[in-house]
Subunit: 308 residues, 2 copies
């Protein structure tokens, strides 16, 4: 199996997006968090599902990419989510990401219309790639049927790889079904197509099958440990490490996960502003937060301090 | 039951959006079609689901509203769809529609995140209404669970009506379940809350129950007949008219409906450019179009000429 030489292999976080009191994105908090992630060996899949990425406007996302680059964070470690419902928005964001030097983009299919044809999905991705028309573009397809409802079928991947070899670079599988992840690696991995599990739950399995790593929400709050597990997956202690990762994830997953992760960062960084989410999400209420704290304390979890 | 005095009662079309060869919106075709609809007594629910509204950028939608107003079409008959995934986009579009004089806006809930709380949905609508802060704003809630997946539960309507009386003006029910429509009319209709069926299939039932009319895809291609049925719903011939509407709808509904309606307009107006759709949708292939033509001819259907 031929591995790609991408700078994006390993562990990435769909970076949580902090907000100011007026619910505008908080660039200083965002930069600080990203710096801490990179220092832990975690790549920056900004504007993913757990980033509340689809609750942000194109202008807000462009500005946040610019803030990261201006702060000196490495575009070689960035894979911003750029897929939206509207073709011109996806083109604009993707173009901006490529010009900023981002090593890749994570692209949702257009997700408002349901039960669309494979031909329609093909045309959606092709139209973006053709419009951006930049040899530096690397597209990672984002398969997340539980949320987007619209998925990325295997024949679509095959067709895109035939027409855009080198550009269509991989896939994030958030189906929650490892058999599906394995089938994508089996079908396309040998060609250097990088398949990422959608959570660290499947990290070991994915790496053993020849996948590239994982892009996981909890990398926001347990990034160092997940990155270490990925780096040392062939060691005998790998299973033990995986169990430790699973315990942390379980504590966050018992609650609305985005709000729970933000609460943990708020506690660790001593900054309650981190708790804010944009509607339609809501922050944890006091009782849910106490429950989270109790669960995290019970497993000896250390909250992120955002120290890079 | 107290009826509202809105200029939007009756029949509205989620106006089809025509495109140029480069897939940019075709303002001249759009204006011509809207003029023909208004002449038939059909209101303009532009940027709905059947408008491919969610495939358009905010800038494109703003420009199309401006084109209609500049062409002299009456904002008193406009109810643009303004609900998107991202709060700032929904605010920007809603503000633009109000300032353009649109009598109302049709607002989807944010639809990317699934299984969100009623509190989160409440905050989404409240944040838009508070930010627009214009006494002219009239919000029609858009309940379309088969597509958006995220619906508008009755307790949410109640809460919005308590906090924003006069502003929250009605609802479009595209659940496809008339029992649900009836329950919304029963619960809120007496207060002047205008409930629209999501298709003319339920037009008679909705009007008999005290609803305001329908906002229906097929009003794009059968507007005059649907508007006449709505105006004369108390006449003895109403059932017969309803059956005729149902036959036309059935012919379109047997195919991908947006592409089928565009094909019928292309034929009627002698303008094949009307067939274009944006990805992820696809136009009818030749065989599907022959089938549509045969079905329409069999029921003596006259294609729209777009003559106003």
């Amino acid at each position: 199996m031929k591995a790609s030489d991408s700078t994006l292999r390993g562990v990435l976080a769909p970076v949580l997006t902090p907000f100011e009191a007026d619910l505008s994105p908080s660039a200083p908090r965002f930069v600080r968090h990203c710096r801490a992630l990179v220092a832990q060996g975690v790549g920056l899949a900004v504007f993913g599902t757990n980033s509340e990425g689809n609750s942000l406007s194109v202008a807000e996302k462009r500005a946040l990419i610019d803030a990261l680059v201006e702060a000196g964070l490495p575009p070689s470690r960035m894979m911003p989510g750029t897929g939206t419902c509207a073709l011109p928005d996806t083109i604009e964001l993707t173009r901006h990401a490529v010009r900023a030097g981002c090593a890749g983009v994570l692209m949702l299919p257009p997700f408002y219309y349901k039960a669309v044809s494979e031909e329609g999905l093909y045309r959606s991705f092709a139209a973006v790639i053709d419009a951006v028309a930049d040899p530096r573009l690397r597209v990672y397809l984002y398969h997340i049927p539980p949320v987007a409802q619209v998925g990325i079928p295997l024949p679509l991947i095959e067709r895109l790889l035939v027409h855009y070899p080198g550009v269509v670079a991989g896939l994030k599988d958030s189906s929650g079904d490892f058999a599906h992840t394995a089938s994508v690696i089996e079908a396309f991995g040998a060609g250097g197509f990088d398949v990422f599990a959608g959570s660290e739950t499947f990290l070991l399995q994915t790496l053993r099958a020849g996948g590239a790593g994982c892009i996981s929400a909890t990398a926001n709050v347990n990034g160092g440990a997940i990155a270490a597990s990925a780096a040392r997956w062939q060691e005998p202690a790998a299973e033990l490490r995986q169990s430790a990762l699973d315990r942390v994830r379980a504590a966050f997953q018992k609650r609305p996960m985005i709000a729970a992760m933000k609460a943990a960062i708020a506690s660790g960084a001593g900054d309650e502003g981190w708790c804010r989410v944009r509607p339609p999400l809501t922050e944890l209420d006091a009782e849910a937060r106490r429950g989270l704290d109790a669960d995290l304390d019970a497993i000896g979890y250390a909250r992120p301090t955002l120290a890079a």
